[in-house]
């Protein structure tokens, strides 16, 4: 079964004719996404035994955009992100990420936040981040990197907080985890349900950081079950069902309601 490539459309352009809608889409894509695709997927499938978690996905994700991936449980959102992060390999198909066909070559340019915190409960946030930073020693990063102190401050956590992560609230833990993912200034940020079980204040703080990254030209792929929450930073809603991308709906810039954007501290 062949998956459909994404169909780009504007939510506010539903009444336009298909031809003018396509042209308009193209013009705005040119303006919003001037650079090459950051991710290109060609017929990517992932099988676990006989179960197909991803089915022949063909899609392109453009540099500097923020993609919010929606879909029911089991749709393949997490599997897609894990494949993009290089934590699993596709069973079939090809992936080009940041210009490379081999994820391991561009690993240091990808930030990943999984379902779990990916932090040690017994260590403080600062100790966790210092340890992560030490694993990047000797790595020449194109964009430099943030120090653990800068990363924690960016997500609104006190670097001097002398409490193990195991005693953090869920919101604090997610923010610490985001700080870890951001530390190497990744060009591509993959976030798997970053807002689950997180209070509104923490979510707003995270959205604020993500919007800054987006404005700086980083590409973000984010899965969530809370589209309203992620909408202020979304350039595109990408919907998955049964291991396939069934639609990609692009928003024009600043499409999100002003109230939502100001709640996240974003530009109006």
């Amino acid at each position: 079964m062949r998956s459909r490539p994404y169909r780009g459309k504007y939510l506010d352009g539903a009444n336009a004719s298909p031809a003018s809608q396509t042209q308009r889409t193209f013009r705005i894509l040119q303006r919003v996404h001037p650079a090459a695709n950051v991710i290109e997927l060609r017929e990517v499938s992932k099988l676990y035994g006989t179960f197909a978690a991803l089915r022949k996905i063909t899609a392109e994700f453009h540099t500097g955009n923020s993609y919010v991936i929606l879909g029911p449980n089991g749709a393949g959102k997490s599997t897609l992100l894990r494949n993009l992060a290089g934590l699993t390999r596709p069973s079939f198909g090809t992936m080009t990420i940041l210009g490379s066909g081999e994820v391991s070559e561009v690993r240091s340019r990808i930030g990943y936040l999984g379902h779990d915190s990916m932090l040690y409960d017994e260590l403080t946030a600062m100790e966790n981040l210092r340890y992560s930073a030490s694993l990047y020693q000797g790595e020449t990063l194109s964009s430099g990197r943030w120090t653990p102190e800068q990363s924690l401050a960016m997500v609104g956590l006190d670097p001097a907080l002398n409490r193990p992560v195991g005693k953090f609230s869920q919101g604090m833990r997610q923010r610490a985890s985001l700080a870890r993912a951001l530390m190497a200034k990744p060009d591509l940020l993959l976030l798997d349900e970053p807002f689950s079980n997180v209070d509104l204040a923490s979510s707003a703080q995270m959205l604020h950081v993500l919007n800054q990254l987006r404005a700086a030209g980083n590409t973000i792929l984010l899965t969530t079950h809370q589209p309203d929450l992620a909408r202020p930073i979304a350039d595109c809603f990408c919907t998955m069902e049964a291991g396939q991308i069934v639609s990609m709906e692009y928003f024009p810039p600043s499409n999100a309601p002003a109230g939502m954007r100001s709640a996240a501290g974003l530009r109006a």
Binding site: L87, I110, M118, S132, Y136, Q137
Partner: protein, 224 residues
């Protein structure tokens, strides 16, 4: 230089985690003490018999005890998917392995430091051979245990019955090393033969398995 610093980062992290949780040390210590005490009560050996069997009891106790700790050291990497973060980091996988081996080596050595005097008292031991050879046999034997143990614990990490699987894989592979450890220790304690051959065998075993494990660890780490 950078590689050494990454190994040190892994080692320091493992030591800090163990210092705060004491998961591995406590389990190992109680287990090995129990084995030593129970064997001493069960057999009530004379001094001569003690010298014959002490090597076997010591190394089997350490092998069993280290198995309990080896699973712990990887289990904490699985908790909260920390291992995924390490897999994504651009640092060499062998550095992670080496850091873990060194940490486990230190944990088992600490157990030996506590266990040694008790062992001498319970079994009324006095070496008739050159006792200083034990300073060579103990580190070489410990290294053999932890290198294989760390590697096979990582191999069984994603299996459902990893606590069960580790001894099933580890013990048969460790037989040559265990033989060399026991024989060299017995030779030192009884003074009846030269432990040199067994020590050489142990050193060869360490070199071969350390090299193999370092080369293969990346494949194990990234296996799905």
């Amino acid at each position: 230089m950078s590689y050494t610093r990454i190994v040190w980062a892994h080692l320091a992290k493992d030591l800090r985690l163990e210092w705060r949780s004491k998961d591995a040390i406590n389990g190992m210590l109680f287990f090995s003490l129990l084995v030593v005490v129970l064997f001493s009560f069960a057999f009530d050996p004379t001094m001569a018999v003690s010298r014959q069997i002490a090597g076997g009891i010591l190394w089997v106790a350490l092998l069993f005890a280290s198995t309990t700790a080896l699973n712990q050291t990887w289990t904490r990497e699985l908790r909260h998917q920390v291992l995924d973060a390490q897999r994504m980091a651009p640092s060499p996988a062998s550095a992670l392995f080496l850091g873990k081996v060194l940490a486990n080596f230190l944990f088992v050595t600490m157990i030996q430091v506590v266990l040694g005097p008790l062992f001498i008292i319970f079994y009324n031991l006095h070496a008739l051979g050159q006792g200083w050879w034990m300073a060579v046999v103990l580190p070489l034997g410990t290294l053999a245990l932890v290198v294989n143990g760390t590697f096979f614990a990582a191999l069984s990490l994603r299996t459902r019955n990893r606590e069960m699987l580790l001894p099933l894989i580890l013990f048969p592979v460790s037989i040559p090393a265990l033989l060399a450890m026991v024989q060299s220790t017995s030779a030192i304690l009884t003074g009846e033969s030269d432990p040199g051959l067994w020590i050489n065998m142990l050193a060869g075993y360490d070199i071969i398995f350390m090299t193999l494990c370092l080369l293969l660890f990346e494949t194990i780490l990234n296996a799905e």
